[in-house]
Amino acid sequence: MEVGEFVGTKIVLNVVQVLVVLLCAPLIKGVIKRWKAVFQRRRGPSIWQPYYDLWKLFRKGSVIPEDASWIFRLAPYVYFAAPLVVALLIPVLTTFPLFMAFMGDMLGGGFVLGLGGFFLLLAALDTGSAFGGMGANRSRFVAFLAEPVLMLVFFTVSFVAGSTIPYIVNQTLARPDLLLHPSHLLAAIALFMVILAEAGRIPVDNPDSHQELSMIDESRILEFSGRELALVEWGAAMKFFVLLTILLNVLVTPWGLSPDAAWHHVLGAVAVLLGKMLVAAFVIVLIESSYAKLRLLRVAEFLGAAFVLALLAVVSYTLGG
């Protein structure tokens, strides 16, 4: 009997997977911040700083605007829970599908993440503040341009793998000839550009500045404080982590995952995942240090380019063979 078939193990592994996402997400955020500072010849904050921040925020009281409704109170929790749900569906640590793996596929995962963002948007509008509305507006602008690209990337990858379940795609794509096919490369580049957009990195948004006027993200979450803010920031970090995991574990490097439930394999998989994350973080730091933020209207071109690349990915697969 295969270890993977034992239901209890699968549930445990699923929980472990979610915990990994939960606990490691702020670390990646801290690492990126630190490395960016080093690039700029500063010392920068410690890589554990996001944890300290979360700890601080959880102990502070929260201030809620008078006109806010239950949506404002609910939104952070939904936003926090969404990446965790998606973490159940994607191959984070193991190559074989876990307990909840067939609950939803990549499209479902995309929708769940979208749900979190949607609630945050509603909360921003709910506050009645001008900055909230502006932030909501801009984030929708970016999101609606990014959605088609995501769809196309998922379609391409599913075409190749013959399935939309991330685990199965991961297993199928572990072959090098499929991996380095031009359509696959184009899809990976397109997805990377979308991740930069969705996570609010340069060149779409500047994650360092906290000015509400220049940002898409900061103005959206301007009214949150205390525990809600902690949940939102953690949720954002986890969303970024989850998207990167999809990129790395499904598209770019589908190796290094644990083939069974043996604990040393699983720990090894965690280490490999963190390693891949660090490489991705390095690339992101390079991009963030080399480019400036685009004007908001130019973001349309950026995502338009991603769209065309994704389109080419589909085309080159169907026509190129």
């Binding site: 991996l179 071109e301 065309v308």
Partner: protein
């Protein structure tokens, strides 16, 4: 030809990167960015030539790769830099007849067209590295589009050069490059063309204090 997995996947990767670089040419809004995109483009081309030379054992392809590197990656971008050095338009943004988002969609369409048009050809020729031919034709069409959609004179020339790179790529894919003598002739012709165009652009800048070809509208009918 040796079509082992590493060679084939490497060729595919290079073909994809060439296509992506061509798109970088379309979205480039600075003069120098155009020239740099062309330099990277030619570098990838030289790598493809060297790789095919390695796979097929045709040694003159190494020579070709070397000359491509020397002429297109180094010499011609230097010529361009010397040409636009000191020009006031060096830092300014480019003007387009067709804006970037529309241009991207058009180029997506052109790539589709190229893929569709070369399908019967590639099938009939039974190529081991089909993506190269398709990408070559796509790059050619995109290069011609860039020439047609830019208002400034220098990006028009860069578009032509990129299109020529595309033809070169298609030639590599289908016939492992043209005969060496013809290739040298092509390089020579290319350098002279760039020189002549460069001189004309320089004169344009002196005479009209702009290289915006939109201003060249006096002759009609």
């Amino acid at each position: 030809m040796e079509t082992g997995l590493p060679v084939r996947t490497l060729l595919h990767t290079l073909a994809t990167l060439t296509l992506v670089t061509t798109f970088a040419l379309i979205v480039a809004r600075q003069l120098l960015a155009c020239v740099e995109a062309y330099a990277v483009h030619s570098l990838l081309l030289a790598l493809v030539a060297a790789l095919i030379g390695y796979a097929t054992g045709i040694t003159h392809l190494y020579v070709l790769a070397g000359v491509t590197l020397a002429v297109k990656t180094v010499l011609i971008p230097l010529l361009f830099r010397w040409l636009i050095h000191g020009s006031v338009h060096e830092k300014r943004e480019l003007q387009f007849y067709v804006g970037v988002p529309a241009g991207l969609l058009v180029c997506g369409g052109l790539v589709l067209l190229a893929f569709y048009a070369t399908r019967p050809l590639a099938a009939a020729l039974a190529l081991p590295v089909r993506p190269l031919l398709e990408v070559g034709m796509a790059v050619f069409l995109i290069g011609v589009f860039v020439t047609a959609s830019r208002r400034e004179a220098v990006p028009q020339v860069v578009g032509l050069l990129c299109a020529e790179n595309g033809v070169f790529l298609a030639a590599l894919a289908t016939a492992y490059g043209l005969p060496l003598l013809v290739e040298f002739g092509l390089f020579f012709d290319l350098v002279i063309t760039v020189l002549v165009m460069g001189i004309l652009v320089g004169r344009m800048h002196v005479l009209l204090s702009t290289t915006d070809t939109e201003k060249l509208q006096r002759l009609r009918g």
